[in-house]
Every structure is written in C-alpha cells, then in structure tokens.
Symmetry: C2
Subunit: 404 residues, 2 copies
C-alpha cells in the first residue's frame, strides 16, 4: 500500500465534533493499510479572530510578528487532532512547519517553500506514527517562523505529498468537489469527476475557490494527483490529474467568476519597447499581483494598457502607476473597482473556435457588455460590470449545457 496525504481545511476542523470526525476518518484510512500524513489548517475562524485581535492592539503589524501570531492557529488544531487520534488508539504526533522540515524563504506572510526536509516525518511513518502537520507554516533559513500566504495549507499538503512520494493528496473541504460553476449561483451546476491540472489552474485562477492556484501549480509541477472531496459527506469528489480527459468529456468544463479584482487603465502609453516591462517590473517589485493584462494594437504611436489587481492592492498599484505614468510620457490613469471577470474553462477549447463566438453571443443575448477579453488555450475570460457577473455565469452555464 502507498502513502496518502490528507489535508483538512478550517471548516473540517471547526469544532470538537468535527475534529473527532476527522480522527475517525484518518483511523479508517489507516485500517485500509495505507500510510497517512495529515495536514491541518487552523480551526474555523481562528485566523480571522487573531487578525482582529492584532488590529485591536496595533496599527503596525510587522510581518514577522503576524506570522508568529497566526501560526498559533494550526498548533491548536493539530494538537487537538492528535488527542482525538490517541483516544481512537491511533499513534500520532504533531509537527510544526519547522519540525516537518518546510524550509522557506524569508518573505513573511507570503513565503515560498525552498525545500522540504522530510526526515522527521519519514521516521514517524517508519515507526507507525501518523504525522499531523501544521499547514500554512514554515521556517526560514534564519530560523524565523514564516507563513505561506493564501491557500498555504493546500501548498503544504502538496509539497509534502511530492517530497514523501505520496500516491495521492486528498484535499478535504466543505464542498464535495470542483463544480461546473459555483452552485450558489447556478443550482444546476454539476460536480466534475476529473479535471486536468491545466483546467484546474485556469479554474483556480479565475475565481474557483476550492483550490488555491499555488497549490495546483505545485501539484502540476510535481505530478501529484489531487482528490478534492468533502469532509462532511466523505463521498468521492473531483480528481485533478495529468491524465488526458475522457473522450466523452464536454469541451467546456466550468464557468467561473471573480469580483475580487479592480481594473486599472493607463491611456496614451507610448508604443516603445521596454515601456510595459518598466511598468510591470515596478508593480512586481512592490509585490502587486497583476492578473489579466490587455494591450491592444496601438494607434498613432500610443496604446492603452489595462490590467487587473486584487482590490486590496489597488492603492499600492495606483501609487506606483501614478508616479510612473509621467516618466514614460503616458496619459491618464483610471481605476475601476466595479468590475468582475467571467471565464469559461475547458481543455477541448482551443480546437473548437466556435466556443468563443458562442460565449460572446450568449452574453450579448442578455445585454451583457464585454469590456475586456483575454484568452488562453483553455480559457476565455471577459470583464463585465460586477453586478452582471452572476447572470453571466448562469447564462453561460446554460448555453454550454453544463448542468448535471
């Protein structure tokens, strides 16, 4: 039998009863003969509570101290899970990110994993002990506590699965898998049995909330098969693998939307080499995550560049762009927060040119104006007014026959 890494998110360990249910499932997995490494998030709203406490105490929150604060969360959930496992007679031991050998760079609150030194976990497994590892956290080469940022626990799980040679990384969450659209928006949305890493990357990047983009990238790069499933129903969920999709799979897999970003437009940008580079270098240096970038062909030697950034980074981005625009002889800078991006994702898309046309027709039929377009081989994204995003998702889901 092989090794499986099981990751339990915050809702899966939200209270004593949930923790006991998770312990029971780990015990059952062990009884099948498989080795298990467990990765846990902080319980329920712990992280939010700690952040609120920090705001109450101080307006200044150094990253090093934020990391120290937040890593208290997983300590609590993993110790409690080990106790619940002990009551079931399953030998287990908790490991902090540092103890589990998750070595990161020193970028506090958003560290990158440099290396996984899995010796202690391997020793535990060899001794028949189930390692319960704190997700989201690591230790820098300077021996400071770090955290991995959004989706960090998923990344921990995938990194451990890769380092320890696990056959599967199971991501337990509060939904039963990856859906063809958000079921709260489209009640007929269908659970996908299997998606490719590439499709999952696009779904995660365009608003699918189930998996963080980073963990999917990591899984894809290290070929770790993911199984996204529910810790409430325990039924099989969605497999994310590198396999070729089944022949009968629909061309379009999912419709996603994302209203978490604002649009910035710089008009009258001189069409010279190096201009775009200087812009996005400045944004990258300030750690602003730029998502969609659109630049049309120029007229009269100038062009407009539009791009999207998270709402939370808008202020920083505006400051940088505002300072840079005069230096590069560009014109005005406009920010628009009232936008949302609606995307169609599917592995079969690039060989089916009709998909894009059908998408635009469906949106036009609902009088939904498309303000920006960006595509990849397996995705088409349209920027629309934020208030129209849910309607757009519903009409596209129906137009492409994605219902179950």
């Amino acid at each position: 039998m092989g090794l499986v890494v099981q990751k339990y998110g915050g809702t899966s360990v939200a209270d004593a009863e949930r923790i006991r249910a998770v312990a029971d499932h780990v015990a059952r997995t062990r009884r099948t003969g498989e080795d298990v490494v467990v990765v846990v998030s902080a319980m329920g709203k712990t992280t939010d509570d700690l952040l609120r406490l920090a705001s109450d105490v101080s307006a200044v929150q150094p990253g090093r101290e934020l990391d120290m604060l937040l890593t208290a969360g997983e300590r609590i959930s993993m110790a409690l899970l080990c106790m619940a496992l002990a009551e079931l007679g399953v030998a287990s031991a908790s490991f902090t990110g540092s103890q589990a050998g998750i070595i990161t760079d020193g970028h506090h609150t958003n560290a990158k994993i440099l290396e996984v030194r899995g010796d202690r976990l391997r020793e535990a497994l060899a001794a028949g002990v189930v390692p319960v590892v704190a997700g989201f956290q690591g230790v820098s080469l300077d021996r400071d506590v770090t955290t991995l940022g959004r989706g960090g626990s998923d990344t921990t799980a995938v990194a451990l699965a890769a380092a320890l040679g696990a056959t599967t990384c199971e991501i337990y969450t509060d939904v039963t898998g990856v859906f063809s659209a958000d079921p709260r928006v489209v009640p007929e949305a269908r659970r996908l049995r299997r998606v490719s890493f590439e499709e999952m990357l696009e779904i995660a990047a365009t608003g699918g909330r189930v998996l963080a983009l980073r963990s999917v990238e990591f899984a894809r790069n290290h070929r770790v098969p993911l199984h996204v499933r529910s810790s409430f129903t325990w039924e099989p969920g969605t497999w994310v693998t590198e396999e070729v999709p089944d022949m009968e799979q629909a061309i379009v897999s999912a419709v996603t939307s994302d209203a978490s970003e604002a649009k910035l437009t710089i008009s009258g940008v001189p069409d010279r080499p190096g201009i775009a580079a200087s812009l996005f270098r400045a944004l990258a240096d300030a750690a602003v995550n730029v998502d969609m970038i659109v630049q049309n062909t120029s007229h009269d030697g100038t062009t407009d560049i539009s791009f999207t950034v998270p709402h939370t980074a808008l202020k920083t981005a505006l400051a940088i762009v505002g300072e840079l625009a005069p230096k590069i002889d560009a014109g005005s800078v406009l920010a628009d927060e009232d936008v949302a991006q609606v995307s169609l994702v599917g592995a079969g898309m690039k060989t089916n040119p009709g998909v894009t046309a059908k998408m635009f027709e469906a949106l036009a039929g609902e009088q939904i104006n498309i303000e920006m377009i960006s595509t990849s081989p397996i995705r088409v994204s349209c920027m629309v007014r934020a208030g129209l995003a849910e309607r757009a998702v519903r009409v596209l889901h129906q137009a492409f026959g994605l219902e179950g």
Copy 2:
C-alpha cells in the same frame, strides 16, 4: 546601564488595552537607557480555554500534544506585544522558547530547563532590538516542544535573567507585591518591601500565590534579584534578594495558608531502615509531589507516616501507597482531603524560640486544633481543618502585629 528582564503574567496582557499599556511601560524603560528582555505569559484565560477545548475533543491527552496546544497561547500574546511596540517605534522581535534557546529535558507538561542558549537574544540586544520571549515553553533535545509546568513563565524569566546577566528580574502581576498575608483574608495585610530568597521560598511553598516556588529556587541559586510588582499601578513592589534583612524588620514576615493538599497517613509502619525510602521513591517515580512529611518516634517497633500531596495527585498516591503498604507490612492507609496548612514565615524565627509557642497559643485561643506540625529554620506550619484556615491566618496575623 544594565539589562532588566520584565515578565508579564496573564492578567497583565489580558486584552488589547493591557498589551498596549505593557508596551508603553517597556518603551519607557528603554528610554531610561536600560536594555530590556520581555517574557510574556498567555493572555488571561487562554490556557483554560485551550484545556477546555482539549477535554471536549478527547479524554486522552498525550503530554507532547498538550504542550503543542498550550504553547499557542504565548505565541499570540508575544506577537501582539511586538506589534504594539512597533506602533510605539520600539524595535522588537518575538522568540518562542525554542528560538530563545530554552533547552529542556523531555518531560512533557513539566519539563526542567537544562540549558539556556542565549545567542539569538544576545544578537537581538546587540542590534538594539527588544526580545519578547514566550514564557513557559522550551524545546527538548529531541526537538519536541515542551512546557515548564506551573509558574513556568516566572522560571523562564529568571533563567533568562541568570543566563544574560541581568541586574534585575521584574515580575509584573496583578497585585502590588508580596504581602504579610493574603489581603482577601486579612484586609490589614502589609506589603513587604523586601524579603530574602529563603523567606520567599517558604512563602511560595506554603501557599503564597504571587511567585511559583520553582522560580524562587532558580533565582536564589543564581542570585537573580527579583522585583515583584503590579502592571496595573506600576508602583514599586517587593524586592526578593539575598541581602540581610533590615535590622528593624519584624521577626515574622508573613502568614500563609494552603488548602490545595490532602493528607495521607500510613499507620503501623515497621520502623526499619529503608522503609520510608521505598515509599517516597515509589511516589517520586510516579512524579507525585510530596510536600510536608511528618513521622513521629516509633512505639512498639512501628510508626505512623503522614504526608501531604496535591489534591490532584491524591488518587495516584493512594494507589501507590495502597499497593506498597502490605509489602512493607504496614497497617491501614487513610486519606483526609478536608485539611489546610497554615504557616508562619520569617527570617528571624530560628533565634526566637518564643515564636512557635506564641503561634500555638494564638491558635488554641481560637479553639483551632493543630493536627500536624512541621518546621524549618524560618517557618512553622500547622495542619488544621480546612474550614478553619482563614480564621487561623487572621488570628496569627494579628497576634504577631503584622498589620501595616
């Protein structure tokens, strides 16, 4: 200027406002030119909350996991304090027990400090950074997280003060110092300006709650002057030093009482060498903390041995003694939980034989029966019915004129 270690207990960092007040005091101390190392406990009732959570999750609570769980508490308070210091412009950095180099044995939930590797703290101090250290916690030679048991944060503070050569270890708490009796029992109780290590040891050992015995032992062994004071009034409190008491100091310093222990009596114990040793070795091996031991001269080749143990250890102690008694040909074993110990502590006591007599007379005058007596050069302790303890404290406080 020298270095001062400041330890803040749970009530001193109980909420955001208290944490900001502590930050303000640390900043003020720094402005006097002194270097500061801060040691913090978990906020208010955090530890109790975590223990309740553990009970909700599981009846089985391995020590290693309890330690992992509880050490979340100081992480939160120290990170928040660093944020509050940052807002005041004071450079600081938090350190876990492990990062601060508190190396312990592997005895989970009650580990002993083996060594303090203070390099990282010294580096921080040299860089002008205030180290904020998690009290109560350490790391074992096996790299597991450990905790130091009751009074552990005081012990951390004293150990750091010793290792770093601090001039003073300030223990900030919710009372203004060490008193001649518990002010809740004796409203006239007087704050002591100065007590010797030996007196403080006896006060701590016999029910004075302000300082944990262990930290006083550590301070005495390493000659670390303690200053016990309030983080609510910030006024000077009680100094605990090795200096000779002032000439005018009263012979008796304080009256204490302790109802946290039960009495065990083994009757008809054969008066042979090695019997007591086998008894107390068995208790020690089970980590039962035996406090007062009384054995009278024997009659007819047998004697009675009485001793006290914490209520929490009574069940374990009874099991051990019950098993051992027949093996050593002893008679019955009796447990009495309804007892309290009342003690008189004072450095001048041993050269004043009248003190003991006066104590017994004062108790007799109130019809308080003395059930066991034990003495040290600077202490006399009497076991009385638990319900009479407070009355005993009041009458002794008055009899020895300790009021302010």
